[in-house]
Amino acid sequence: MENRVADDVVLAEWCDVLDVTAPGADDDFFELGGNSLLAVTLIERIESRLGAEIPLERFFMDGRLGTLLESVRTAGAR
């Protein structure tokens, strides 16, 4: 799967879970109102749609959108 498609999935799920529009790469999920349960929801949705395994620990440590996009690309979405 192309990175662009994976990025679109991540952005769509990010916006839906947080109810935001036009997020930036430096936006932090947890500073925007995300909590542990929402984080798991977000990661599971992305994993389900892309078939990629996203390291939740890394997302907990760094909740920025840019880092999540990088994780998804690294995970090699199918």
Partner: protein, 429 residues
Amino acid sequence: MPEPTTPRLGVCHGPDGAANLREIYVASQGVCEVVLLVRAAVAAANPDIMRVAERFFECHVLSGGHVLPGDGALPGDHVAEIVAPLGLRGVTTFHDDELELADALHPATAAPTHNPWDKLVQRRVLGEHGLTSVDAVPVDAPEDLVRGFATLGRPCVLKPRRAAGGQGIAFIDADWDVRRQLDLRRDWTGLMLETRIDPAPHPTGPPWLGSLVSVETVSTGAERVHLGVLDKLPVAVTRGAGPGGADAVHVQGDLLPSGLSPERSRAARQYTGEILDALKVGPRVTHTELLLTPEGFDVLEVNGRLAGHTSRLFRLLRGPDLVRIALQVAVGDMPEVGPPIAPGAAAGVFPTFARRRGPVRTSLRRRMLREIPGVCAVDELAQDGADKSATQYRIANLTLRGDDRAALDASVGEVLRTLSEGFAEGGDG
């Protein structure tokens, strides 16, 4: 030489505590290996939390005949059986309901001479030290209330000795209020009646600011460091709206740093230190609430854990990580108290509905609130058509940041105005 091992720390966990699982996980890195200890009833009621917890932590559900403080029994030898095999260096909690359990499970804690988290004990000890002008009596039966109100002879508050979140509180101004309690209240165990003090308005803040402040403190074995003084929005009280004849009492927000003058802020820290000394509070983070009075301050209560939301405000100002500090002192390490908070100001604002009945009526959306300058996050917003209880009667829960207190106050004022207008048609204005 053997590799140094990371100390294992028990954390008695529950929902809606002052730190969530992610905050605990992040703060524990390089400090300790967290072992979550969860009561069986809490685990059963919160399967989602347990599912997340088990991904990150070793978890133990406390059940199977253990006698736990707070379960209606005194801690006994049973509790030692829980932690002995786990090799814990300490036990702490971020949840008010679990303070006694964490203290009882802590392997290094000697049997306390008093429970400092019992608010009646706090009043007695602080009264003996001349640190409060509030008089208090125990109430364990209806006749105790009648006798106590006649004895104290002033406007009073009836409240649980051990509870947080404003649960079970009733303001008692007159005999009529006493009769109401006698008619409606069913559970009379573990209550207290204390006199109410007339507050003084906040000397420097805008009119929506409450007459109280809090002081966040980390105590080590050697010293107490006051990490910050925060202002508060007023506590919302809806008379008779709680269950069993209680009033509904809600905190509505915090602002860091306080707008008090340096002298008064210093006096608040000094007074808090004297309170913690009198209560013999050991190594931990505490949250002490002080009422502003014409004479200065009087203590409202001392909580043996950090306050909800405040760690986020400290993070926003690049200050110390309060969760990490709490973990460090719990394992016996010296906490990393620095750096001081950066210039600027931050607030958590979570106002409640003035009227609790009826559905939510609003056209406000989260993104509309986010457009207000200074708003960093909207964690919660009551949804149009929903029952107000769905958000525990909160209109919204926002986090704000400003370049200074004046900018922050302007943002908070704008948020409050927007919420007031945005929910006015719901019968709440």
